[in-house]
């Protein structure tokens, strides 16, 4: 019996590879295992190799695995492209239809199973995926019944007979495989775990759910990979709350429409990836100077320009922090797990309203689309804070022709927020420099006052922000401090025990607030480490540059990967060893 293994299914895009992985992992999730799923896909709809790699474990983990135990192949390309990942004694289970061949030099065993044939016999070749699920999961010691609830959930709207057919396909796959392989493969059986209701979701699901739970009721957005799931989820759920999603004509409309709705008092967000974010730059400045709350999600992907739209990258940090002309207060948060993505999204709306400024939630493709096991989300932790905004309040009557001081020069830089429709609160809002009432003003004194007011707003944020840096500090003084952000957290966590095993004292700091930068927290960690390595999925080391600017350290080393794939734990381990 084993505690974890890695399983991958591959074939051509459009062939149902995604759902094969889906069903396999949903069943295991319901059995109580911890899962991590990562999809490899291309920027095309049908055709082209795609695969879904799923790691199963009896204990929590949040990273893609270095190697592979089981490879399920629907074509030879899948075998050729992926066999090198297989461990010694790994297994390839392939559709006999394409006459699979074992590549030279692999020690894995190949089982050729008639996925398509069995499926055809059951009525439709579509079910070959279920046969494959059955065949490969029997290896793990999973039983047909373990799939019942999943299959029912997915196929029940197509009728009971479809459900039964699919279950049959799983059973037949299992039976066939058992016959082929005999009992020699019990080594792959997973240790049983306690069944527990854990969630299994992608980061985008968590962001969308967080938005809903956080009171967002309106989302104008424009489709883009890997952000679209957020709008696609919310359009299904918002109507129940009186809200909606509008698919706008472009991202500029999306962002300015969100500004309009937030201005009028409704929590509103938009989401996009690099190209869309670049288009929103002017609007972000408008949110900043008009002090209108705004939440934007940037799901980073391979850049620049259209770049590698379906690949992992973390190269938008600088653009998110610096990419609007002029100077505004802005918050840039970076959740590092799916769970955090949920809570951080709720918090983003709170901060946007409290500080009356744009808040960008930066994610990356691996976090947005990678599927992770998540401990049940805690309803009690959902908190809604709206800062100096009170819709209900009775305001004192204004003098004739005097506007409400929407931009009153408050000590903390944050003025009382009122919205259209309220009595005694009429004021003007403009992207031009303005006075306390919002009237345009070119007076140098007023300019200084308003600019200072805006820029001082965030002075307490790094202190107030809960866990601006996730810290895993196992040592007072470390040989090595590893710093990262977003989806690399699970990978770094996985590498730490390996390094510790080699006698290296490692600490880990994962930056969760990118701007304003938590320099003190990080400085303290850096000061107590002999070496520091900043790990990023980009080419120029943007987080490292930020640290240099904000903290200024001579001991920084960088580890960068920008070929479109996430770091493997083994790569990080190797590089850390070399750096030391």
């Amino acid at each position: 019996m084993i505690k974890q293994l890695s399983w991958k299914v591959g074939g051509q895009q459009g062939e149902g590879i995604e759902s094969t992985g889906e069903i396999f992992s949903m069943a295991l999730n319901r059995l109580g295992y911890y899962l991590y799923g990562y999809r490899h896909f291309s920027s095309r709809i049908k055709g082209g190799h795609t695969n879904n790699k799923i790691r199963v474990s009896t204990t929590p983990m949040n990273a893609i695995s270095d190697d592979l135990n089981i490879l399920v192949a629907f074509d030879q390309e899948t075998i050729d492209l992926n066999h090198h990942e297989l461990v010694d004694g790994g297994i390839i289970i392939a559709d006999s239809k394409f006459k699979p061949e074992k590549p030279e030099g692999t020690s894995a065993s190949l089982y050729s199973i008639p996925f398509t044939e069995i499926a055809n016999e059951l009525g439709t070749s579509l079910m070959k995926n279920m046969v494959a699920v059955g065949a490969s999961s029997t290896l793990l010691g999973v039983k047909p019944e373990d799939f019942t609830s999943v299959v029912e959930q997915i196929f029940s709207r197509k009728g009971n007979s479809v459900v039964q057919k699919n279950m049959e396909a799983i059973r037949e796959g299992m039976a066939y495989f058992k016959k082929e392989a005999g009992n020699e493969l019990v080594d792959f059986h997973l240790e049983p775990v306690e069944t527990k209701g854990r969630m299994f979701m992608i980061g985008n699901d968590a962001i969308a759910l967080g938005a809903l739970a956080g009171g967002a009721r309106f989302m104008p957005a424009y489709p883009i990979t890997p952000a679209s799931e957020i709008m696609e989820y919310l359009i299904k759920k918002l109507p129940e709350y009186g809200g909606t999603v509008i698919q706008t004509e472009d991202e500029i409309a999306a962002c300015t429409m969100a500004i309009g709705a937030n201005y009028a008092g409704v929590r509103s967000l938009t989401a996009s990836a690099g190209p869309g974010l670049s288009l929103m730059m002017e609007a972000i400045g408008l949110s900043g100077i008009t002090e209108t709350p705004l939440v934007i999600v940037d799901t980073q992907r391979g850049g620049p320009s259209t770049g590698l739209p379906t690949k992992q990258e973390q190269s938008d940090i600088m653009a998110m922090i610096y990419g609007t002309h002029g100077e505004i207060p802005k918050i840039v948060m970076a959740p590092s797990t799916v769970e955090e993505a949920f809570y951080d999204t709720i918090e983003a709306f709170n901060l946007a309203e409290e500080y009356q400024c744009p808040v960008i939630i930066v994610s990356d493709l691996a976090l947005s689309l990678g599927k992770q096991t998540v401990e049940p989300l805690d309803f009690e932790k959902i908190e809604i804070r709206r800062g100096k905004f009170d819709l209900s309040e009775e305001l004192p009557e204004l003098e004739k022709n005097v506007y409400f001081k929407r931009y009153e020069n408050a000590e903390d830089g944050i003025s009382k927020r009122v919205i259209p429709g309220m009595k005694n609160a009429i004021h003007h809002v403009t992207g031009v420099e303005h006075n306390e009432q919002g009237k345009p003003s070119e007076s140098p004194d007023n300019r200084n006052i308003q600019m200072d007011k805006r820029l001082r707003k965030l002075s307490d944020l790094t202190d107030r922000f809960k866990t601006p840096v996730f810290k895993d500090e196992r040592h007072e003084d470390a040989d090595l401090l590893i710093v990262g952000f977003n989806s690399t957290r699970g990978t770094i966590q996985e590498v730490m025990p390996r390094l510790e095993n080699d006698g290296i004292k490692v600490n880990h700091g994962h930056v969760r607030l990118l701007h304003p930068f938590p320099k003190n927290e990080l400085k303290d960690m850096i000061d107590r480490a002999k070496r520091v390595v900043v790990i990023e999925n980009n080419a120029t080391g943007q987080l490292a540059q930020l640290i240099k600017m904000e903290v200024g350290s001579e001991k920084l080393k960088t580890l960068n990967k920008y070929d479109g794939n996430p770091f493997l734990p083994a790569e990080v381990y190797q590089s850390c060893k070399e750096l030391l």
Partner: protein, 288 residues
């Protein structure tokens, strides 16, 4: 009941004396009063340009945004609170150059916003360059040899884009203009009102006199029926767009708000933010 004076504030417009935009401001104030609005239930969203300053000259909520984006902002406001009367406004450059895509899509989307374009066929604030409404041959700072692009037929375009309220008016005709704006406010759905609003400083061709000579009032065309789309289109083609009055109105087509699933009559802004525990548990269970 509010009178038009209640929609005045104490800000002195910084438009040039004689600018057409003064009348547009006055007409909005009168129309708002006559439509029975109150200042705090109205929001004027404007773009950037001389015209864009208008949001600061009317006693109501005002949002002076960025160049070309008054419409998405205005639509966002309306979606957040459909109890507000939302007026969007700006110049011809704002709405038909940089904002063109939004204009077409706002027309198509049909959210209940009244959009008033102050069309002076020039860029005023940047001191006199050509606009998409400038005529062929028009000399400006950016077309010293005369423009070589033809003026956009914006009213035809609005009709083709599926406009449910398409109208045009003229700054000199305060009565018609006020009435058109009032009808626009009352229209359920998107209304586009293009106003010939002369720039006395930079446009020495399309002057008040020029318009007086060249405009045909639809009210003077016998049998003109603003509910007949084909008639509207043909009349526009015949008069080269130089007509004023209500060109077309479709009262049948429901507005976007009326069609949105689950959208409440009470402003979205008044819906509770908090989620019930049972709802949350349900949502969470969908991921298990």
């Amino acid at each position: 009941m509010a009178t038009f004076k209640d929609f005045r504030n104490n800000v002195k417009p910084n438009w040039c004396p004689g600018c057409g935009d003064f009348s547009v401001q006055a007409a909005i104030q009168r129309a708002a009063a006559s439509a029975g609005l109150t200042p705090e239930k109205m929001a004027v969203v404007s773009g950037i340009g001389c015209s864009g300053r208008i949001s600061g000259y009317i006693n109501s909520y005002g949002f002076h945004g960025i160049h070309g984006r008054s419409l998405p902002i205005a639509q966002g406001v309306k979606m957040a609170n459909r109890e507000l009367t939302v007026i969007a406004s700006g110049g011809d450059g704002d709405g038909f150059a940089i904002g063109m895509g939004h204009t077409i899509h706002a027309i198509r989307r049909n959210i209940d916003v009244t959009y008033i374009v102050m069309d002076n066929q020039i860029y005023g604030l940047t001191k006199g360059q050509t606009s998409p409404r400038s005529d062929m041959g028009f000399k400006t700072k950016s077309t010293p040899g005369g423009s070589i692009e033809s003026a956009l037929n914006v009213m035809e375009m609005a009709l083709s884009a599926g406009g449910t309220f398409v109208a045009q008016s003229f700054s000199s005709d305060l009565k018609e203009l006020t009435s058109i704006i009032e009808q626009g406010i009352e229209h359920k759905g998107f209304s586009l009102i293009n106003v010939f609003s002369p720039c006395v400083t930079f446009n020495k061709v399309n002057t008040y006199d020029w318009f007086k000579e060249n405009i045909t009032k639809l009210s003077s065309i016998e049998g003109y029926d603003p509910t007949d789309r084909a008639m509207a289109m043909n009349t526009l083609m015949k008069h080269n767009g130089l007509v004023t009055g209500l060109i077309y109105q479709n009262k049948e087509k429901p507005s976007y708000e009326q069609l949105v699933e689950g959208f409440k009559d009470e402003g979205l802004v008044k819906q509770p933010l908090e989620m019930k525990k049972d709802k949350f548990d349900q949502l969470v269970s969908e991921f298990m």
